[in-house]
């Protein structure tokens, strides 16, 4: 099984993007950082006890699924949209959603466009092999306007082309748009159009067929979310708590770990790496960071968001 393989290998092979600031990008020392990367590290910590026991495999929109299907990677955490066909036809198992997103458009400010429906005849940079490519076709068709698609392999190249003016519009998930814009020399010269043309629930995924492995990934993600809901942070992991769910989560009560083939402290280790969901969000893409994304839909359900983890029981 995948779990045994990963344990035997001693590292987790995790597929990430070739570089989206805040989500997954090697820093100056070549250490991968980011919101998606944190999921990988949490799973590695839960399974192997070491959040650094991860081999990051950069994938493009095109190569990611083959990498996962062929077993080159064990887990794909690469702002991938959970869709029907990917789940069923491509035979993958989405273990949850770590970012609720939607497709948006970025245009230079001086283009003077205020809505996507004004883009009739524009040249649009898209990443091939993504849902955004299909959504884009649908959007323009249903609005009965034309466009000129410029298919591009990776996000960074799309940005290069966009900045060079080779396309007027750059479209992808709004989170990625925001993240990439934050890296521009003059972020203010570009605007995200208000239109959100699709639902893009982004989450980690694994191969079909190995449900145990899927469970581990799913519940590690849930642990991060639950921890935030329960107020468990990387700082207070060792503090006594009267909340039985907290104790179950951190392995002080019951033996949830054994049910997924891990030891009792798995979730605690996962949380120790980067903290709970909220901490991860805040440190990588939150409003304090250059990316500056608001929680929005990604707030806890209690706060009016969509994050809702099943209970640890």
């Amino acid at each position: 099984s995948t779990l045994d393989e990963v344990k035997a290998r001693g590292t987790l092979n995790c597929g990430v993007t070739t570089g989206v600031p805040g989500f997954a990008e090697p820093d100056a020392n070549g250490v991968w950082q980011g919101f998606d990367v944190a999921v990988c590290r949490a799973v590695a910590a839960a399974v192997l006890g070491d959040g650094n026991a991860v081999t990051f495999v950069p994938t493009t929109g095109k190569t990611r699924f083959t990498a996962l299907a062929s077993g080159e990677i064990d887990l794909l955490a690469r702002n991938t949209t959970w869709t029907f066909s990917r789940d069923t036809d491509l035979k993958f198992e989405f273990v949850g959603v770590n970012y609720y997103d939607g497709q948006g458009f970025m245009v230079p400010k001086d283009l003077g466009v205020s809505s996507a429906t004004e883009l009739d005849g524009a040249t649009v940079c898209i990443q091939t092999g993504t849902t955004t490519e299909l959504n884009l076709a649908d959007f323009f068709r249903s609005n009965n306007i034309s466009y000129e698609p410029v298919p591009i392999e990776t996000g960074s190249e799309a940005v290069q082309q966009y900045l060079a003016g080779a396309c007027d519009v750059y479209t992808t998930d709004r989170s990625a748009l925001a993240a990439q814009r934050a890296n521009f020399e003059t972020p203010d010269a570009h605007v995200l159009l208000p239109d959100v043309v699709s639902k893009e629930p982004l989450g980690p995924l694994v191969r079909h067929g190995d449900n145990e492995w899927g469970d581990i990934a799913r519940w590690t993600l849930n642990a991060l979310i639950t921890a935030e809901e329960l107020g468990v942070t990387s700082a207070n992991l060792d503090a006594e708590s009267g909340n039985p769910e907290v104790n179950r989560l951190l392995g002080r009560e019951g033996d949830l770990g054994a049910m997924i083939g891990l030891d009792a402290e798995w979730a605690k280790r996962a949380l120790a790496v980067g903290g709970n969901y909220g901490e991860i969000f805040a440190s990588n893409i939150g409003s304090e960071t250059p990316i500056g994304l608001a929680r929005g839909l990604n707030a806890q359900w209690k706060d009016g968001g969509l994050l809702y983890s099943p209970p640890f029981r």
Binding site: G61, K62, F65, T66, A69, D89, L90, K91, P108, D110, L111, G112, L119, D120, G121, A122, T123, T128, G129, E133, L134, L136, A137, D138, F140, R141, Y147, E148, P149, V150, P151, I152, E153, Q161, A164, G165, A166, C167, D168, R207, H208, G209
Partner: protein, 408 residues
């Protein structure tokens, strides 16, 4: 006297499978066959096991499903609701278009460079050597990307052609009022054909054929009477006059559509996208360097004696070229030239690096990706290129046999 009969049969012993030349080769082939069957079945069983494990199957049904994505360059009408099969066909046509055009321009570059490299002008021949060596020794992918980068970053931003919102004049306008080099592509005028337009078009084609007919008539006339008719002027007339007459008679059914600035880019006219230009140009200039070498080698292969003999007969240099040197040099040049064409076709698959939607971009790229049908798509992709290669090789064999010099 004697008749052919079977050689005497000796008794068969099992050891003869290895020691007897007659059976040995069967033994080996049998072993080889077994080995092949074993390894193929091993691979196939792995394949089946893997497909089973992933819950996938092999099927080409996806080709009938809507593709869902758009393609910017469409030689035949296509929209995102058409099938993957149609997208594949569009891609294949795009491959053939760019390959064909690149073959034409690469030949032009190659012939020019190859001939100039032999020029007695030192600077020109050295410049051509530099061109050939530089382009041959750097990967075509790098050239492709460099040229793509140039078109995207050196050509003027299309924004400068747009009419500013305050209605003032744009920073740049069409060159000669007809074309524009922008970072989103080159925009050139396009011919539009009204009802009778096709007649004009076919007249034009017929005129081109007519020039060749006239050329052979000139030759025939020379052979028959020894009088050489003028060629260039009548040829020009044949090219222009009938088309012009047709055009006027039919009431000017052919128009020129100039590119005109729309909200975002030029509308009307013909757009050559940067990806297309980069691919076309990179393939041409890279392969042109190789062709230049072939051309040079072909011309050098014709000994100086041939030229001298012709000169001694009083033939003028231009005629020496066309009557003596070229017919021989072409025999040397064309076979490697055709394999360069093959290379162009294969290298055109690099389109994917610049986002030109050829077959590798559609079938091998987006379709493969959106459907996840890797094996099926790659197989189909290979089949396409293989077919083209085989066709070209067949042609080459035919050509080689038909021009072989007769020898004793």
């Amino acid at each position: 006297m004697t008749t052919l009969s079977d050689p005497p049969k000796s008794d068969f012993r099992i050891g003869m499978l290895l020691s007897d030349t007659r059976y040995r080769s069967y033994t080996f082939q049998f072993i080889a066959l077994m080995a092949i069957i074993l390894s193929v079945s091993y691979l196939v069983s792995n394949l089946l096991a893997n497909l089973d494990r992933l819950g996938q199957d092999l099927s080409y049904e996806f080709l009938g499903a809507p593709a869902g994505y758009d393609i910017n360059q469409q030689p035949i009408p296509y929209n995102s609701q058409d099938t993957h099969l149609r997208a594949t066909v569009v891609g294949a046509m795009n491959t053939l278009i760019v390959a064909f055009l690149a073959c034409v321009t690469a030949t032009i570059f190659g012939v020019i460079a190859g001939v100039l490299r032999l020029s007695n002008n030192w600077i020109i021949s050295k410049l051509m050597s530099v061109y050939v060596e530089i382009f041959r020794n750097i990967p075509v992918l790098i050239w492709l990307i460099i040229i793509f980068t140039i078109t995207a970053n050196v050509f003027a931003p299309i924004a400068e052609f747009r009419i500013p919102r305050d209605g003032s004049d744009p920073a740049r306008t069409l060159i000669f009022g007809v074309m524009a080099f922008t970072n989103q592509g080159v925009f050139v005028p396009r011919l539009t054909f009204d009802a009778g337009g096709m007649f004009v078009f076919w007249t034009f084609i017929a005129s081109i054929i007519g020039i060749f007919v006239y050329k052979s008539y000139v030759k025939k006339h020379l052979f028959a009477t020894g009088k050489e008719l003028p060629f260039w002027l009548p040829a020009l007339a044949i090219l222009v006059v009938p088309t012009l007459v047709m055009y006027l008679v039919l009431g000017r059914p052919v128009g020129v559509q100039l590119p005109e600035m729309g909200r975002f880019r030029f509308e009307g006219g013909l757009q050559l996208r940067t990806s297309f230009i980069a691919l076309w140009f990179a393939l041409s200039i890279y392969t042109g360097a190789f062709i230049a070498e072939n051309v040079r080698a072909g011309i050098l292969a014709i000994s100086k004696g041939q030229t001298e003999a012709a000169a001694a007969l009083g033939i003028r240099p231009g005629r020496i070229m066309s009557l003596v040197v070229l017919p021989q040099a072409l025999r040397v040049i064309i076979p490697p030239l055709i394999s360069q064409y093959l290379n162009i076709t294969k290298n055109s698959s690099l389109a994917i690096a610049v986002g030109y939607m050829d077959l590798t971009g559609t079938l091998g790229g987006i379709t493969l990706n959106q459907t996840g049908r890797a094996i099926e798509c790659v197989l189909l992709l290979m089949l396409f290129y293989l077919t083209i290669s085989l066709l070209i090789s067949l042609f080459m064999n035919w050509y080689n046999n038909s021009v072989k010099l007769k020898e004793r």
